[in-house]
């Protein structure tokens, strides 16, 4: 497979340094990429592989050194230049917007950035996506209309890789631990893809800790260590053992290390599970004794993590059997997903270790500093951390060293059952060996260890192993029988349970029942019916006009709030920004239309600025908008110290226009909801607007500006606030800086009732409009029931909580 070397490399890093303060992440790195070659990049954690990739992709600038693309030295090298040079990277941490559908994630990458695209781009995007997935990963059965959050991890990884493959003019593809969640057959498909790419002249940099893969697919292996080049070799002239040695592993290759299994004298039962079914698991039977290491294996995503969680959560009722799960000991958990489930990023190593062991270092009411430091220091020494001391910040460590801190936390907690969920993911070989040693030590100390690993070879260190497939334990292996071939065989064994037909037919009823707009629409109809029951006249043209008329300001206010919620923020100040618009319209616009328009434009600019500020300084929106609220209020008070002004004639005429058949306020609501829906769900930029509320990094990596999108969200919100303020002026025929403050709370309530998620990215404009109408009808009802106005705020508050509780129940039913 060795390709003819072209004279000049396509891309070359020459004598590149990258320092972070005093840490030398990269030192005098030389790295060449020739067209069409597959480079296997290996090295322990903290070797600088990720840093080098970040320099290649332009994410980080080098401290010094040269980057040469196609023979010319680059003066400026940012993500833009890297993209132009055709470098793309499938990131270790999946960079997809999980709220967007699969095809939208693809479209985000390759749709033109211009304002308008010709209609039908969605159709094309869908078709292209489907073809692409099918081409590289046949029989993937991924539904491209599904939002990414509903895919399995392996499916997401496939989507991620394909997304990268879609880069036009792809010249260099970087795959960073691409197979960590993939099953063997999917990994093989990926290797085929790599071969194909290389045949087409695209170079591939393949980073993996799975050395067999590296040996199998690469043309050239490049090794790194401690931020320096540590040699190259030809995969054909080397085997795994040699490679491990060259990487500086402590001699023993994995698989060869024999952990003494002879002391099979079992201790007491630590945990047992009898006939457990649920949470995607079927008929689970297992037992773990003290003094043994029990492995859990099988294809990734076969229910292993769920099983571990059940064991861990049994810790809440130790000694009591519940649903067949009986835990007789204390338990601790070590996660391999460090960033998400493991480390506490603000802390140093010390705090990260002792947090699991606070009872040990307590003295009376307080924590004892000396005791804690002794504990942390002893583990620090034992695990040979590569850091400046126990008080080094955890974020300054490499992944492997962070993992050591987690393992120290788990073992030092003194728990008798230690659960490890893929603890060696992304950890270098040397650290892996140390971890195995620790587990063995824990075992000899009479602890029970449950180890789940995605690396089959790792299970060989266990005394017993349960192999899982589709949520069922298909085989129990013991002692010498635990070998990679046996594990693989058991991983594909048929399961006993009937595989549930996963593809629930998305029947119409089901879709309606799970729709986000169901609740607000029902609420609206319900409210209209109650109102009609009390006063049938409201069903007439005039009645509806009068009733909905007072709802319009709230509908707009809520839509404005929705745009900010889309970005994952919240506007705590829109009550007073509506007041400001009310004053600007009622006093300035009425008196001097030109000045009025200018002031309103400035207002929108201020909203954009606020968005920019929140983004650039990374300050929480809730605080900024709270502060801004006083600015809006202050300006409004300066302009109109006391209520006054009037509504411009044209606005009043527009608002009271006799639209045929449908009353004008309803027309306005429909227009508002429709256009917001169009912007967010049909227009191209809408997917970016929603994307940043979910995964701004992914949006940026696809070449869109986060700042710009956020500002657009705020501008749209500002425009909605203006509409709301205008409607408010038309309703109350004047300006008052103090009367619209309740819109803040009401708009948030409406957004939630309307089916949006406060965490951002998931919104429903139609629902918001219906919710707004429903909310304002509630007030009408309360008034006609002669409910004390004091109670009305409380009712709104209660409705909020009830709505969210209903949502929670519905979510549970959906099985999420």
């Amino acid at each position: 497979m060795k390709k003819e070397r072209v004279q000049t490399p396509y891309i070359e890093l020459s004598k590149v340094n990258r320092f972070f303060g005093i840490t030398k992440a990269l030192e005098q790195i030389d790295f060449q990429i020739f067209s069409g070659e597959v480079i296997g990049l290996v090295g322990p954690n903290g070797a600088g592989k990720s840093t080098m990739m970040k320099i290649l992709t332009g994410v980080l600038p080098p401290t010094d050194g040269k980057i040469i693309v196609d023979g010319t030295e680059m003066k400026r090298y940012t993500t833009k230049e890297a993209k132009e040079a055709g470098i793309a990277c499938a990131y270790q941490d999946l960079s997809l917007c999980t709220n967007l559908s699969v095809y939208e994630n693809f479209a985000m990458l390759n749709v033109e950035h211009g304002m308008f695209t010709k209609p039908g781009w969605r159709k094309t995007a869908k078709k292209e996506t489907k073809e692409l997935l099918e081409k590289y990963f046949p029989n993937n059965q991924i539904d491209i209309m599904k939002p990414v959050e509903r895919l399995t991890l392996a499916e997401r990884q496939i989507v991620e890789i394909c997304k990268t493959l879609m880069t036009d003019n792809l010249r260099v593809l970087i795959l960073d631990e691409p197979t960590s969640a993939l099953s063997t057959d999917k990994a093989n498909q990926l290797h085929k893809v790599v071969e194909e790419l290389s045949a087409r002249g695209t170079s591939v940099i393949y980073i993996s800790h799975k050395l067999e893969e590296i040996l199998k697919i690469s043309d050239r292996i490049v090794m790194m260590r401690n931020g320096k080049n540590s040699g190259e070799c030809d995969p054909k002239e080397i085997d795994t053992v040699q490679l491990v040695e060259m990487l500086g592993g402590s001699g023993a290759a994995k698989g060869k290390q024999k952990i003494n299994r002879e002391n099979a004298a079992k201790g007491d039962m630590a945990v047992s599970v009898k006939n457990y079914t649920g949470k995607g698991l079927y008929n689970i039977n297992l037992h773990v004794h003290k003094g043994e290491i029990v492995g859990i294996s099988g294809l990734a995503g076969s229910g292993q993590t769920e099983l571990l969680n059940i064991l861990f959560e049994a810790g809440r009722y130790t000694g009591i059997e519940k649903k067949g799960v009986l835990l007789n000991s204390s338990v601790s958990y070590v996660s391999g997903d460090r960033a998400r489930e493991g480390i506490f990023h603000l802390w140093d190593i010390f705090d990260n270790i002792i947090i699991g062991n606070l009872d040990q270092v307590k003295k009376g009411w307080f924590l004892n500093k000396k005791k804690s430091e002794e504990l942390a220091q002893s583990w620090y020494d034992k695990l040979k951390f590569r850091a400046e001391g126990i008080h080094s910040p955890i974020m300054s460590l490499s992944g492997g060293n962070q993992q050591k801190a987690l393992i120290a936390r788990g073992i030092a907690s003194g728990a008798e059952l230690i659960i490890l969920n893929d603890p060696t993911a992304g950890v270098d070989i040397e650290t892996k060996q140390e971890i195995y040693g620790l587990l063995d030590e824990a075992k000899r100390a009479g602890k029970a260890v449950v180890l789940y690993s995605t690396e089959d070879a790792e299970i060989e260190i266990c005394d017993r192993a349960y192999i899982m497939h589709e949520g069922e334990i298909t085989e129990e292996l013991k002692g010498e029988d635990i070998t990679v071939p046996n594990i693989v065989k058991a991983s594909f064994k048929d399961t006993k349970h009937q595989k549930k037909s996963e593809e629930k037919k998305e029947s119409l009823i089901h879709r309606v029942m799970t729709s986000r707009v169901l609740l607000p629409v029902t609420a609206m109809i319900f409210m209209i019916l109650i109102n009609a029951a009390m006063n049938p006249r409201i069903l007439s043209y005039m009645g509806m006009r009068m009733l909905v008329s007072s709802a319009v300001p709230l509908v707009f206010a809520a839509l404005g709030q929705m745009f900010i919620v889309t970005a994952g923020d919240v506007d705590m100040g829109n009550g007073y920004s509506i007041a400001l618009v009310n004053v600007l319209v009622g006093i300035i616009l009425t008196g001097n239309p030109l000045m009025g328009i200018v002031s309103l434009s400035v207002f929108v600019g201020a909203y954009a600025l606020m968005g920019a500020l929140i983004h650039v300084r990374n300050i929480p929106a809730i605080v900024v908008t709270l502060g801004a609220q006083f600015v809006w209020w202050g300006i409004a008070l300066v302009i109109a110290p006391s209520p006054g002004g009037s509504c411009p004639e044209w606005l009043l005429r527009l608002y009271k226009f006799d639209f045929p058949l449908i009353p004008m306020p309803i027309v306005l609501c429909i227009l508002a909801g429709g256009s917001c829906w169009y912007i967010l769900f049909r227009a191209k930029y809408g997917m970016i607007l929603r994307g940043i509320g979910n995964n701004p990094l992914a949006v940026e990596r696809s070449g869109w500006s986060y700042l710009c999108a956020k500002m657009v969200n705020y501008v749209l919100a500002g425009l909605m606030v203006i509409c709301s303020g205008m409607a408010y002026t038309a309703v109350c025929m004047g300006a008052d800086a103090n009367s619209s403050a309740t819109y803040c709370m009401m708009s948030i309530a409406t957004v939630i009732l309307g089916g949006c998620e406060m965490s951002g990215g998931v919104v429903a404009p139609v629902g918001v409009v219906c919710g707004g109408i429903a909310m304002s009808f509630i007030t009408t009802i309360l008034t006609s029931f002669r409910v004390d106005s004091n109670y009305q705020t409380a009712v709104t508050g209660l409705i909020l909580i009830v709505v969210l509780a209903i949502k929670l129940v519905m979510h549970k039913k959906e099985g999420k």
């Binding site: 958990y333 990374n618 809730i622 302009i639």
Partner: protein, 310 residues
């Protein structure tokens, strides 16, 4: 330099306070140390709210308590009403009611999975309604003995300042020296990680709301007595300053980081700002405008770059 600034986040509000003190002195034409002491006394109510807010925010995942101002008002009414029977009973009941409101907030937030901001916004309005309904039936004048007690002075220090200092010291001990404090900061950084580290996350978060609520209750008790009685809008004044103080003082909005000293100084600074705006003889509108703008500017300047790395 930057390191020092991040480590000692209280430097910002301290510098701000000194600056404002000088500004007030220039505007009013006289330098007075008494100004600092009286500000320290008058900022007490916002300070206690800010400390409560800090504890809640530190529990992470966007936790925030927007019902504080209403809890304060409710507590003020209850303490004033019950103190006609017994002073101690009044204090305990007010603090307990505050803690109970916090408990409700925490439970709704955790078990109904309603975002804290929405929960407290909603409960806040409900509490306010309770105040509106109860107010006419309650005695709103404080107990004279208690009023005398909180108006005691020793040197420049008033009893209110002393109470705040004691609360701050106790809170600092709780947050930085005990198991609970460590767990709270862990939970605030990452709740899943905290769960796997064996921490009872729900309990810790709910306790944070309870502590926050209890501090509001205490603040309400003192505030009611100091202002010569409870009234319906009494909490509103302290809303912005307390939130501002909490964040200016070095509380990480994303959770997991708190700073008792910083928040106390932050409250002082916010009070000095109000004093300054009053002294400068500005209209209400201008005062609001400047307060808001200053808050945003301070945040822009003082929020450390830590958050960016996440």
């Amino acid at each position: 330099m930057k390191k020092i600034m991040t480590k000692y986040a209280f430097i910002w509000p301290l510098l701000g306070s000194i600056f404002l003190w000088i500004a007030i002195s220039i505007v009013s034409g006289k330098f007075s140390v008494g100004q600092i002491f009286s500000s320290a006394k008058l900022c007490s109510f916002a300070l206690l709210l800010a400390l409560g807010q800090m504890v809640v925010v530190t529990s992470g995942e966007g936790a925030i308590d927007l019902s504080q101002q209403y809890i304060l008002t409710l507590a003020a009414y209850i303490s004033c009403d019950l103190m006609q029977y017994n002073v101690i009973l009044g204090i305990i009941a007010a603090v307990a009611v505050g803690a109970f409101c916090g408990l409700v907030n925490g439970i709704v937030n955790i078990y109904l999975k309603v975002p804290a901001m929405v929960t407290t916004l909603a409960t806040g309005y409900i509490i306010f309604t309770i105040v509106l309904v109860l107010a006419p039936t309650m005695k709103t004048l404080p107990n004279a003995g208690f009023v005398d007690f909180i108006n005691l002075h020793a040197g420049g220090f008033s009893m209110l300042t002393m109470i705040c200092m004691i609360v701050a010291v106790l809170l600092a001990l709780l947050l930085y020296k005990t198991k609970y404090g460590k767990q709270l900061h862990a939970v605030g950084q990452k709740r899943i990680a905290a769960k796997y580290a064996g921490i009872k996350v729900n309990k810790v978060v709910i306790s944070a709301f309870v502590i926050g609520g209890a501090l509001c209750g205490l603040s309400g008790t003192l505030c009611g007595a100091f202002n010569g009685g409870a009234f319906q809008d009494m909490g509103t004044t302290y809303f912005l300053p307390s939130i501002a103080a909490a964040f200016v003082g070095g509380t990480a909005a994303s959770g997991g980081k708190s700073n008792v000293a910083g928040v106390c100084l932050g409250a002082l600074m916010m009070y000095l700002l109000t004093t300054f705006l009053n002294a400068a003889n500005l209209s209400v509108g201008m005062q609001r405008l400047i307060q808001g703008a200053v808050l945003v500017l301070i945040l822009v300047a003082s929020v450390s770059d830590d958050a960016k790395k996440n």
